[in-house]
Amino acid sequence: MTLPNKQGYFGSYGGQFVAETLMPALKELEQAYQHFSRDKKFQQEIRYYQKNYIGRPTPLYRAKRLSDTLGGAEIWLKREDLCHTGAHKVNNTLGQCLLAQRMGKKRVIAETGAGQHGVATATMTALLGQSCEVYMGDEDVHRQSLNVFRMKLLGSKVIPVHSGTKTLKDALNEALRDWITNIRTTFYCIGSVAGPHPYPMMVRDFQAVIGKETKRQLRGRPDYLIACVGGGSNAMGLFHPFVKDNKVKLIGVEAAGEGIRSGRHAATLSAGRPGVLHGAFSYLQQDLNGQVIPTHSISAGLDYPGVGPEHSFLKETKRATYVSITDREAMDAFKILSETEGIIPAIESAHAVAYALHLAPKLSRSKRVVVNLSGRGDKDIGTAADYFGVKL
């Protein structure tokens, strides 16, 4: 059985919890996606850009020095940080923006937190000649000014969002409000495996190229797959082709921020409970009255109170395990990977690396652990300098 079902549910998670105005647009999108996911020319076009524009396949690199230092399992890095624009996000925006083009929608909108999805959307819309507006929480606009400027250079408009907590969740609210208003002309390019059906399925499918390549490149079965989870798109992309192979252990790493007990974290699957936000029933950080509560992570890309519904399903069925890593553990890993392998990871990806550092020494040398290095750390240099107390 392939999931989601026709109504967009993974078990009891997912669905379409949106205002009536959006329902016809979701049906239209669903139909278009079903059609083009089987269309040979569309698939060819995706493969063309994956190879010649994004630079796929990305290497699966054996981190020998790191593995030797730790003295346990072999650690392999899936180098999504080498994708054009510096993160896995572009795998998805390539698919969605091409789909928008086929659907005849000339205006694309997106939400962004750290700015990576915004940059990836701005990049594809520049390439395809579409107009693009990106909603970004006002807090994030200030925290990630470099990415704001990148989007502008790429010809996109960045709209600061002043409502609520002024972060990613509010950017998503504002993008949904725009979509409700401009529904007939606009394509909403969601950046994660979150939101109403068909987004969690569609974004997963566009990201599944990560797992498919890994399978081919590794030759033989990996023992563990490790990826960070905010909304969860890079993790879902790596996991998806392996979900049916029960011998492969799947581990999602959430952001524990200052520690789960501190209350200042973004570990939705570890510490939240199911609810409805942004169109789907999934794990959610909420208070007893069902109000969404603010999250914290040093990594802006993981700082989100929801999570993709398929992750909730993988948790419930125990097919995947979800753990959490604190800001401090992630920043230690950020430094260790930089110094031992010459690779500066995105702070998001450093969470996955941190868990691998913890796991690998406990395993025998014959085991193989694949870590999704979902993005590079250039965008985080300012944050890292602050954290390590360095003045630039």
């Binding site: 919890f17 009536e20 105005t21 409000r177 109000q291």
Partner: protein
């Protein structure tokens, strides 16, 4: 069992009147004021009162109602406290009350408990913005059991199939959203609205109320000609926001609408 809302629209039809439906956010600026606002609105001619249940992420609302929700939540407003308020106010006000909000606070409350407590408090209807008919089954079952109407939205983008789908589940009345947009947007042409409402009426005998974008009495009069009722939300919430005396402001504001609607249909 005929619901109070069904009775209301039947009576209005006999009197050849249209329902005037004001919306305020419960707990904005605080629940004590909301109680007095409900009384003021009832006295000023409200036929049905819509109480917004504030939510941290009101994705279908414009800036005015977003701010109202933020103020209400900042003062600790919860669904439980709102139900208690409705219960309190019931001894003085018999106007039907509709709670309007988002799904998660009701889910967190528990669907069964919500239905039971809302009934006991004297809530007549519930509208959940992010609960389209495809997802409404579980809540609708609980509400039907206790005789609370679940109100659904239809919009300019709803095609015939969706109108039929909504008609099969809706009770009380159908809430027609005048435009593709969030609350507080600008009202669009009457022609398209007239056409869509005609289409809706082909599939349901339920009364139709129009909301979103109605901010002036003259607009309300125009929209009332097309439907069985009009909802005034953001404009009222805005009037309360800028007024130092919200209770008086609410009464004055609504009286103007009431006067126009009654004069028109004499």
């Amino acid at each position: 069992m005929t619901s109070k809302i069904t009775q209301l629209f039947a009576t209005l039809k006999k009197e050849q009147r249209k329902a005037l439906i004001p919306f305020i956010t419960a707990g904005d600026p605080d629940l004590a004021t909301t109680k007095r606002l409900i009384q003021a609105l009832a006295n000023a001619g409200a036929d049905l009162i819509e109480l917004g249940v504030p939510f941290s992420d009101p994705m279908a609302d414009g800036p005015v109602i977003q701010r109202a929700d933020e103020r209400a939540l900042a003062h600790g407003t919860t669904l439980r406290k709102i139900l208690k308020l409705v219960k309190d106010v019931r001894s003085q006000v018999s106007t039907p009350i509709l709670l309007m909000g988002y799904y998660n606070p009701i889910l967190a409350y528990g669907l069964k408990s919500y239905a039971r407590d809302a009934r006991q408090a004297g809530v007549d209807a519930t509208l959940v913005v992010d609960l389209p008919p495809e997802a409404a089954g579980p809540l609708n079952r609980e509400l039907r059991r206790v005789g609370i109407d679940l109100i659904f939205l239809l919009t300019p983008t709803s095609d015939e199939a969706r109108i039929r789908l909504v008609s099969r589940q809706a009770r009380g009345f159908v809430y027609f959203v005048s435009m593709t947009g969030v609350t507080g947007g600008a009202l669009q042409g009457a022609k398209e609205i007239r056409r869509k409402i005609r289409e809706i009426r082909r599939h349901t005998s339920l009364p139709v109320a129009i909301g979103f974008g109605i901010s002036h009495p003259q607009q309300a009069r125009k929209m009332a000609e097309l439907a069985d009722g009009v909802v005034v939300g953001s404009a009222l919430v805005r009037a309360l926001e800028i007024s130092g005396k919200p209770v008086k402001a609410a009464g004055d504001f609504l009286a103007k609408f009431s006067k126009v609607l009654r004069k028109n249909q004499g």
